[in-house]
């Protein structure tokens, strides 16, 4: 009886065409990206206020950050955005192998970003710089930490999508999850595009 019920429960549901699902999922993802903007927004607002209040502190502290490492990470993320975008086009054209490889490269870039970040954090701790050192570093650790969390979530999502891509689940007729995952990954890039100059370049 329990068994039958469960099947029935699964039986209920929406039967949408792939096109419908495409439009619905894409709008849903964009809405979610709006949420993400507001989530990071609180930290950006705090940054704006405290930077305006303590320009010297920000100027001094930001020089402790490693501009080169930040720049390298920026290049890595931008490149990963490119490979992600190519992956989307590839699957839209039905090229499953190429798409899978592109997603794989994206994931490798994401991991590389994490490794660089790991060394950066390590260097900070070695210099006895912690989140409670001053407001600038509080913001630095919270902003990059929250961003890092998004990178990890993105990697997990892309990992699943990659496996499904290699398994041949997606093609030119149905590529929605790849595109949705791609949108999320680009957001991770977008946030970093602002974090990099704010934290590393102008402080």
């Amino acid at each position: 009886m329990e068994q039958a019920n469960m099947e029935h429960a699964e039986d209920h549901g929406l039967h949408l065409t792939p096109e419908q699902e495409y439009g619905i999922s894409k709008l849903g993802m964009w809405l979610f990206l709006g949420t993400e903007i507001m989530l990071f927004g609180g930290l950006f607002a705090a940054y704006a206020i405290f930077r305006a209040k303590y320009p010297e502190l920000f100027l001094e502290s930001h020089q402790e950050l490693n501009r080169e490492m930040g720049a390298v990470n920026t290049c890595i993320l931008i490149f990963s955005s490119l490979t992600m975008a190519i992956g989307v086009t590839a699957i839209q054209r039905g090229k499953q192998m190429l798409a899978g490889i592109m997603i794989l490269v994206t994931i490798i870039c994401g991991l590389g970003f994490g490794v660089v970040k790991y060394f950066e954090y390590g260097a900070k701790f070695a210099h006895h710089i912690y989140p409670d050192t001053n407001i600038f570093f509080s913001l630095y650790f919270m902003m990059t930490g929250l961003h890092m969390l998004h990178v990890f979530i993105g990697l997990a999502v892309l990992g699943v999508i990659m496996v499904l891509t290699f398994k041949g689940k997606f093609n030119e007729k149905y590529s929605t999850p790849v595109e949705i995952g791609g949108l999320y990954w680009h957001l991770v890039d977008l946030v970093w595009i602002y974090l990099f100059p704010l934290l590393y370049l102008v402080g």
Binding site: L14, L27, G34, F50, I135
Partner: protein, 537 residues
């Protein structure tokens, strides 16, 4: 038993399946609505009992029933549970889930699995918060710094619980926006939508875009306590008022997350029981969006005495008056709908009328508070307590009870006892006013909120308020028993007991699992009651 039900053309009420998993794993929006309904009702009752305890303490000037610290814990829990666990998910998650697909002619919401996930996230947030009760916080539901950053009680856990709940709210909002955009039945144009849908849409936008800000604020508070950062600590260069700025950037829109769905409910009930087309359909529809938008612009009216600048206070006081415009538009249109209608005083209609009356008082006193000079005197007094309860109980809870009585036959396919329902309405209405009206006077005379003790001269009004809370509690108790008893009644509800024109009443009660045998085609707006037809619908 389960097998023969799967065939498509047989009517299977959505309540038919039994068993824990059939609920826990359901992706049916109607069942998820019930899950929310049960959860929020439980929290409403628990937090209500806490309130009765507080009122009992306040019967006498001394703190003789509970210690001042316990009193602080009581109002913190009462506020947090009522706000984050009951009234914010509230109508949106319960009735929103049940009604949106039915009203727009869709088989389900756009993301049924995500819908279930939202409910699970709500449960996780609940569990975390229950764990936090081991050392309950005493900060008030607003978690203001610097106190929340320094108190010995467990602020981290309860704020983390609220943070998690936030995601439930965000995902629900996202789901509803997409549903309303993409899942409407053929012919269901924007200007034919029931007003509850417009209200739900406006609410969903607020859930989607305001909630993340309180999320990050609470994360910053958690970092403040656990990592020693100093965003809100002046000793470390931070600013405690910044917390309030961020908190109210969410929490003012959040009061509209609470009230807009209730306004939607009222806009459904009034035309049905006046047998008249709703007056000013477009004005009501667009004023929902207007309220949602303006609610982003007024947050600092909660902070006039917190040390914000005079410039900011003046700007926000001015902007606050703008909220009154779309609000008043709605009230006038409801009254115009009632005018010369053939009114039937069904219990749901009584709640709707109660809403219009009490919410108007609540809204007007809000305008007093929004006036900078008046608020300097009234801030953090019982006047604010009375204001918020007039809008939240007199408004949202009246709307919630109204919705319960109105859609009960549709939802459960059963009837409750109408006379008992009317009696409980009467007790709730009277009890509510006796409880909270005196608090306006207490506030004007300077009685501050959040104290377990008070000067002797306030004793008579305070005691009166406590007596009122007993009447109110009794009313809620009778209503609850009546509604639960109704579930076991043998009287089956007809498909459309009130002759409503809205789509959810055109399917059997309770609705079949798949909502509609065939997706309907809509040819007219929802409010064509009586002979008159709205020309521009």
């Amino acid at each position: 038993m389960a097998n023969h039900t799967i065939a498509n053309n047989v009517y299977v009420p959505f309540l038919e399946q039994k068993g824990f998993l059939s609920w826990f794993l359901t992706t049916d929006h109607k069942r998820i609505g019930i899950l929310y309904l049960i959860s929020i009702s439980l929290f409403f009752l628990i937090a209500g009992i806490l309130a009765l305890l507080m009122r009992f303490e306040l019967m006498t000037p001394m703190s003789d029933f509970v210690s001042p610290h316990t009193y602080n814990v009581l109002f913190t829990l009462h506020g947090s549970l009522m706000v984050f666990f009951f009234i914010v998910p509230g109508l949106a998650a319960s009735f929103g889930n049940f009604l949106i697909p039915l009203m727009i002619g869709a088989p389900d919401v756009a993301f049924p699995k995500l819908n279930l996930a939202s409910y699970w996230i709500y449960l996780v947030g609940t569990i975390i918060t229950l764990y936090a009760l081991l050392s309950p916080a005493d900060t008030g539901w607003t978690f203001y710094t610097p106190y929340s950053a320094t108190t010995d009680t467990d602020v981290v856990m309860i704020t983390f619980g609220v943070f998690v709940l936030g995601f439930s709210s965000i995902l629900t909002g996202m789901n509803f926006i997409v549903t309303i955009h993409k899942m409407r039945a053929p012919g269901m144009t924007w200007h034919r939508l029931p007003l509850f849908i417009w209200a739900s849409y406006a609410t969903a936008v607020l859930q989607l875009l305001a909630t993340p800000v309180v999320g990050i604020t609470l994360l910053m508070l958690i970092a403040e306590r656990s990592l020693g950062v100093g965003f809100f600590d002046p000793a470390k260069g931070g600013d405690p008022v910044l917390f309030q700025n961020f908190f109210w950037f969410y929490s003012h829109p959040a009061v509209y997350i609470m009230i807009i769905p209730a306004m939607g409910v009222i806009s459904e009930i009034i035309p049905v029981f006046s047998r008249k087309p709703i007056f000013g359909y477009k004005a009501i529809a667009y004023s929902s969006l207007g309220i949602a938008f303006i609610s982003f612009l007024v947050w600092a009216h909660h902070m006039f005495t917190s040390g914000i600048s005079e410039v900011a206070a003046t700007i926000f006081s001015f902007l606050t008056f703008l909220v009154a415009i779309p609000t008043a538009i709605k009230v006038f249109n409801w009254i115009a709908t009632l005018y010369k209608g053939s009114i039937e005083l069904h219990s749901a209609m009584l709640y709707a009328l109660g809403f219009v009356f009490l919410f108007t008082i609540g809204g007007l006193t809000g305008v007093f508070l929004g006036a900078l000079a008046a608020d300097i005197h009234l801030h953090d007094t019982y006047f604010v307590v009375a204001h918020m309860h007039y809008v939240m109980i007199g408004g949202t809870v009246m709307g919630f009870f109204g919705a319960l009585h109105f859609w009960y036959p549709k939802w459960f396919g059963k009837m409750f006892n109408e006379s008992v329902a009317k009696l409980s309405w009467f007790l709730i209405f009277v009890g509510f006013n006796v409880t909270f009206f005196p608090q306006f006077f207490l506030g004007i005379q300077g009685m501050p909120r959040r104290y377990a003790t008070y000067p002797e001269e306030f004793e008579s009004l305070m005691a009166l308020s406590t007596y009122g809370s007993w009447i109110l509690g009794l009313g809620v108790l009778i209503m609850t028993v009546n509604l639960i008893k109704g579930l076991y009644s043998t009287e089956k509800a007809p498909q459309n007991p009130y002759g409503s024109l809205s789509l959810e009443w055109q399917v059997p009660s309770p609705p079949p699992t798949l909502n509609f045998e065939e997706i309907p085609t809509v040819t007219d707006w929802t409010y064509g009651y009586g002979k008159k037809k709205e020309v521009d619908a």
